[in-house]
Amino acid sequence: MIRILGQIFRTGIVTEPLPPVTDPEIEKIGVELGKIIKRHFRRSLAIRQVDAGSCNACELEIHAINNPIYNCERFGIHFTASPRFADMLLVTGPVSHNMEIALRRTYNATPPPKLVVAVGDCACTGGIFGESYASLGGIEKVIPVDARIPGCPPTPTALLQGILKAVGR
């Protein structure tokens, strides 16, 4: 236990902006985001992430916004296990043929008003996988999209910015 406490105190709060990895941008986005989330979502934005066929790189970066350095929870953003509680769907990948139905069902299970954000180049346009027998292309081919976050994969900062843009609409 003493080691755990030692580690906690030694680490302190790493959430940015703190040296040695100062990145004022994150804080700026966060403050704005926090305001909007407070106003529109009563301080909490529940996100359901759906992988509709991605290569998993986008998922890794979505994980990263939950790490203590980006710490998205401080802005009221949290990820929920069910679409039933979600305000926003964060969808990655080109929509694979085999995921199309599951994506539609997830969308239908999300209560309105629901925001859909396409994350990554593949989700925006189909990316390198394009359109084929197995890939339907971008997310908008299957469900309406409110905002796009391009990148292969988008960085955690780009993800936070994109979410802000989507809720600020």
Binding site: E59, I69, P94, S96
Partner: protein
């Protein structure tokens, strides 16, 4: 002559003929008569070989029928055994009774290539979901990949369990966490799982078919996106296969840089996994601590190599990024920092009895089973199999690097976690060695066009395990076939088998300790 080659020759004599044009020449490839395909498997199994991959090709454009290939591995040797089937009789004898992983390989072959394994115990399609038209075989040359697939009514026949108190839990494809999609179906009695059946294929993006539409150079971007967390290893395996095919020798500096990228990818993923395993036993502090280390590590990648996961940094012929003296200093000082931080966390993990209670004796994959399933990577090493391409099939520069791998025998969640701990330590040491040795010179060589009807093979030890690529050129020197074998293609079977008798709440933990790729498997 290698042992496997000797075995095959003594069993087959003149009826096994060596295949020309298979590169590198160190990998022997033989053609055997179709009716004796399974006999070869039997002979090689007696020699303690493992099945590494099995795949089919449509060689009609090359004036042949279908090719069926099986790749065997024993210690440092790989052996490819090929047979062929005429276009009007696309069948071959199943290897499933000799080698368990053939179970899925052959279902995949029959689903996507329409070449049926005779004697296979399970004729259900794999990756091809029940609503695909039955005659949609995308890997055939006659299939038009640009058209979308119509849906037809169909039902997947699940394995059922009956009896008093037996119930079923369907999970997925959309999971609770931020992970890839797949379906798991449990049959349980009370808390105890009596069977788990996986149904994958949800993220099938037609990658193998798509390769055939690209030039060799463009295709390296696709290889890098086959499994996003293993982008370096996939790019490397693809590049090595293309280099074998074209006879290109990358400059020495590029080889060492590739090893640097590969070890950095290993460390980053292992850090993430260790955190996630701790999270699944509700030990959140280590999740956040390990994620912090991983984040810092990824930022260094971004700073030095321009991409957090080092995507597209390896291409056929060499690398696209170099490192300067400042970069070397940055990495060295980062390693000093990381080592100190990492070791502190490892002690916390190791000393915590509530963590130990959950991870020990959970999800045991016994040695015999691991061997039977031919699993690879850290899953194999946690179950007593001494397997690592960096040692057994040392692609340069690993022929000049001393790699030491941990072998644990308990095969439980802890073993799979601890193999990662030891590998992080060793990778840090390897990176120091690489930076000390890094030769001067160019970082890329030009890649020529391949000769028609040739094949190139490469096996690389990614962080999850052995990644295999086998590429074949067509008559115009284009990509006729690119076979991808991610470690997940075999390791998913291990998860199914290790779960029996465990309790339902331990499934996420077992799953996380395997952390296999859906995208790399579904392709």
């Amino acid at each position: 002559m290698s042992k496997l080659e000797e075995t095959l020759r003594s069993a087959f004599g003149e009826s096994a003929t060596q295949i020309e044009g298979q590169q590198p020449s160190s990998i022997a490839a033989f053609l055997v008569p179709r009716e004796r395909f399974a006999e070869a498997a039997k002979a090689l199994k007696k020699e303690y070989a493992l099945l590494a991959a099995e795949w089919a090709t449509d060689e009609t454009l090359l004036g042949k029928g279908f090719g069926i290939y099986a790749c065997y591995r024993k210690e440092s040797e790989y052996l490819i055994v090929k047979t062929s089937a005429p276009a009007d009789d696309p069948t071959f004898p199943s290897l499933t009774k000799k080698f368990v992983p053939a179970y899925r390989f052959e279902r995949q072959i029959s689903s996507l290539m329409g070449v049926t394994a005779i004697g296979h115990p399970d004729q259900r399609p794999w990756i091809k979901h029940e609503d695909w038209p039955e005659d949609a075989w995308p890997l055939r040359k006659s299939f038009d990949a640009s058209k979308s697939l119509p849906r037809v009514p169909g039902e997947y026949r699940w394995i059922r369990a009956e009896g008093e108190g037996v119930y079923e839990i369907p999970v997925g494809p959309v999971h609770a966490g931020i992970i890839e999609p797949g379906h798991f179906r449990f049959q349980a009695v009370g808390e105890d799982i009596i069977n788990l059946e996986e149904k994958l294929g949800y993220v099938h993006k037609g990658i193998e078919k798509r390769f055939e539409a690209f030039s060799w150079h463009e295709a390296s971007r696709l290889a890098a996106r086959t499994s996003g967390d293993t982008t370096v290893a996939h790019s490397l395996a693809y590049s090595q296969a293309v280099e074998a095919l074209t006879g290109c020798i990358p400059p020495d500096r590029a080889l060492w840089l590739r090893a640097l990228f590969l070890e950095r990818e290993r460390i980053a993923n292992h850090l993430g996994d260790l955190g996630a395993i701790c999270n699944d036993v509700a030990f959140a502090i280590l999740l956040y601590q390990f994620m912090r280390l991983k984040e810092m590590f990824l930022r260094t990648n971004l700073k030095l190599f321009g991409h957090r996961f080092m995507m597209d940094r390896i291409v056929p012929g060499g690398t696209t990024f170099d490192i300067d003296a400042d970069g070397v200093t940055t990495i060295l000082s980062e390693l000093d920092w990381l080592e100190k931080e990492f070791e502190r966390l490892v002690v916390i993990y190791d000393e915590n009895s509530s963590v130990e209670d959950r991870v020990r004796d959970t999800g045991i994959l016994k040695s015999e089973k691991a061997r039977e399933l031919c699993v690879v990577g850290f899953v194999a090493r946690a179950s007593g199999l001494n397997l690592d391409c960096r040692i057994h099939h040392p692609f340069p520069p690993y022929d000049r690097i001393n790699v030491s791998i941990p072998i644990l025998v308990s095969g439980d969640v802890h073993a799979r976690a601890w193999v990662r701990v030891e590998e992080v330590r060793d990778s840090m040491r390897i990176i120091r060695e690489i930076l000390k040795t890094l030769p001067d010179g160019e970082i890329a060589a030009s890649v020529g066009s391949p000769m028609p009807d040739r094949a190139g093979f490469a096996a690389v030890e990614g962080w999850r395990g052995e990644v295999i690529y086998w590429v074949q050129s067509g008559l115009k020197g284009e990509i006729n076939r690119c076979m991808v074998r991610d470690p997940s293609s075999v390791n998913w079977l291990g998860l199914e088998q290790c779960i029996h008798g465990n309790i339902v709440p331990d499934f996420p933990l077992c799953n996380k300790s395997f952390n296999q790729s859906y995208s790399g498997h579904d392709l």
